[in-house]
């Protein structure tokens, strides 16, 4: 199931990207190296037309502006076109059409499909009948592999700035660890690396599932758990914060008990964190005053990497498209300088 065939070279071409379980360490490294290669295009130093004439079917059967636009822009940045659905027209599915029928039809309209769907397993089922590669843009509580990859890619880049590596990483994961799809996927990816330490900071009700803790320990990760933020983030490279929805608690009293205990702000950061500790979050971040997340007073902290995460998402998605469509080595061949004023430069 791994992408890189140890016998005869790279093997991403034509593959579906459905689950992070498909990735071995060298596959991840390959994606990240290609993502690095995409940087000049994402930063608008250059334009490539390598996918000129190719069509992405961006099929979001559940609304998600940022993930949908990120996939679409990544494809445009490689020179391709995007046809899409934004979550409100699943009429054929409502009329009893099977996912396989939908896949057989839609895969006649494009060269690669990105799909989001509210049902777990739906994207994999869809892929069985698709004639073109399918990328999982999120299937309910199950998988969102590009989010996990962009998170780990961000970790790699942030640590590289100070000479560190994913091997040897210490990371605190904070918030609702029970329901957070992105945290679960990131934990699985971390199992591929050596000398990793994970500190799980959450209310008792919102612990990481036991089988995930077990899987991490089996793969050699040192796992600690905690109910208190401040002492848990003293010696970590990364604080990965997630949303806690109030309604996850058993009662208002229960919620009040934890109120503010998982919220990171600049004062706590200054008092407890190392100077280079990187702050991450899968976004969106709840900016309302009573949210249990990241305070806006962190916005000027140079280690706040939350927007670099979404920027990196474009690079990782470009890399996956380039690998699956086999254009990694020809991206530069079909490139030219940009012709407009680049406000971002």
């Amino acid at each position: 199931m791994a992408f890189i065939d140890r016998g005869n070279g790279l093997n991403f071409q034509g593959a579906h990207i459905l689950s992070i379980n498909q990735f071995e360490k060298q596959d991840v490294t390959r994606v990240f190296d290609v993502a690095d290669q995409m940087q000049p295009y994402a930063l608008r130093k250059k334009v490539t037309r390598v996918l000129e004439g190719a069509i992405l079917g961006n099929m979001f059967f559940e609304a998600s502006t940022r993930t949908r636009v990120s996939f679409g822009s990544a494809f445009n940045l490689l020179g391709g076109e995007v046809r899409e659905t934004a979550g409100f027209e699943s009429s054929a599915l409502v009329k009893g059409e099977s996912l396989q029928d939908t896949a057989r039809v839609l895969s006649g309209f494009s060269d690669v499909i990105c799909m989001r769907h509210p049902d777990e397993g739906s994207v994999a089922e869809f892929a069985t009948a698709s004639r073109v590669p399918v990328m999982n843009g999120g299937d309910g509580a199950n998988e969102h592999p590009t989010q996990a990859l962009l998170d780990l890619y961000t970790i790699r880049k942030e640590l590289a700035a100070t000479g560190r590596d994913i091997d040897g990483l210490t990371i605190a994961m904070v918030g609702d660890l029970r329901h957070g799809r992105t945290v679960h996927s990131l934990c699985k990816l971390l199992c591929l690396y050596d000398n990793v330490k994970v500190v799980l900071v959450s209310p008792k009700e919102l612990l990481l599932p036991a089988e995930l803790i077990e899987a991490m320990r089996s793969s050699g990760i040192a796992v600690q758990t905690s109910e208190d933020l401040a002492p848990s983030i003293a010696d970590v490279d990364i604080v990965y914060s997630t949303r806690i929805q109030e309604e996850r608690f058993g009662s208002k009293q229960e919620a009040d008990l934890y109120r503010g205990r998982f919220r990171l702000n600049q004062a706590i950061y200054t008092e407890f964190c190392q100077p280079n500790t990187v702050i991450m979050h899968p976004l969106p971040r709840d900016s309302r005053a009573d949210a249990n997340e990241l305070d806006n007073d962190l916005n000027n902290n140079p280690n706040l990497a939350i927007f670099r995460q979404t920027d990196n998402g474009v690079l990782v998605r470009m890399a996956l498209f380039a690998l699956v469509l086999g254009v990694v080595d020809t991206v530069d061949k079909y490139s030219h300088d940009i012709r407009w004023f680049n406000a971002r430069a």
Copy 2:
């Protein structure tokens, strides 16, 4: 009203495509020949940029993922851009704007418009005020000309594989023949051909409208009617199955009376059909167990043409765009090889 001017050559350029009544036999042949020519582009053997810079206004004032995306992809495959509306923003129409005003405005934004609208006659009314060619993507129960054309194009291709032709065709149409817009349009198109036999298989309540039967007979088609599927499909080239919605029957008892009598599965096919009988359906197909349609056990039957129909839809729509915008002879001139790994090949 026919597209081909017998005096001085082809005459599709700049025409609206509103109704299959506009088509004479040689017009249909012309569209199908051009559709054949589009095959290398749809199969991703080549890329054409002939419509580079052209804009399709894909105005779906009623949701329809597959038809909308099929039109959009067809335009992209010719090198053009697509701007669109997906059915949820008809605010201006709600504020009392006339269809003519809408047309006058929207036709300033694109080079050709495809329009779907829930009201019968709306697309033709819109076209009267449009400054660019308009294609009917479906106007309520009235017309859906590209569906009828893709159905007949599929018939032509499927029969050609065994040396047969549309002239001389025997076809069984099955299901709700009273309300099925696609069946009505296909019947009209068949009137253009010679030695055609049509077997109409439906419950009494859901007979094909009498005036359509009359029109077919007047044009020389041999028409039979039946309430039983099995004996009716013994000697036909094509079985064209359509959805029967339970609520079309007068009562639950009435529906029960017919249950399963119009459902085609592999066992019935094997027992009653000729070996090369082609199975068609306008899709979506209801795959739930109690649906009165095509069984999933037909999926491995090589004569199941239902997904080739939707693939052919892209070819027919490409052909119509190429004809209306006058680029049939220059499509190849602006082409180049594809630059990515074609998973479909």
Copy 3:
């Protein structure tokens, strides 16, 4: 805040377009001159690829087919790609995400953003955190600067046809002047010009806000008010009509009192207007019989400019994109002839 730096040349590059208050007279003139230059591309005489590879983020957090498609088509006409949201997926905003966070994320996906949002001031707030130029596509009752610019551009073009100019203009504004965002913005723009006369024709309840009247008078505009259409339009260059929604009146009796008094039709035009008086409207126009607006019997009047207004909107938006992205001088360099049959020519 003005766009043209008197010291060292043009200064639109990389600027946000948020409010007509940003424009001085020479800025407006510059936009209009560039809009004139865009004409061959909008009329499909030529195709330009100058923005090939550039991405517009067309973020409509409130539905608006015509404005959204106008911006998107303008960008396509310059060779760029469009990624968009059409008003139904503001899920992240609902989850408490700040506009600054949204801006920081979305500005990573495109080279320029056009945004519509129901809240006043939202687009300006969004712009503070965006890393790419932002254009205001309408923020509630506050601003819609491209509409005001296209209206004034239309006035310039219509008057130029008979040798007149914006300086010296006499214009009647008719209808709901209290709530009409487009009228307010146009009034502000007119303050930049000399020898302008404005006749305000509205029910007492729907007068133009006093501070706007005051601002016009301070800048030298001669302002009159009236409750009667016919005598007010005898000596004007332009009649700018707007919608009066019945529910704006205090009561049905009040509405009945004014019924028909602000509706312009051909008979009134012939009796009261000068032969070259130009008729404008921001559209959509309510074409139902009891609407207080422009009658359909004006449709053949050559001075009805309402559809030229929306056509001009594409030119003005192309001009703004070209100015902000710094491609005014290179649009022609990357152009070629169109390759398809131009039905509009």
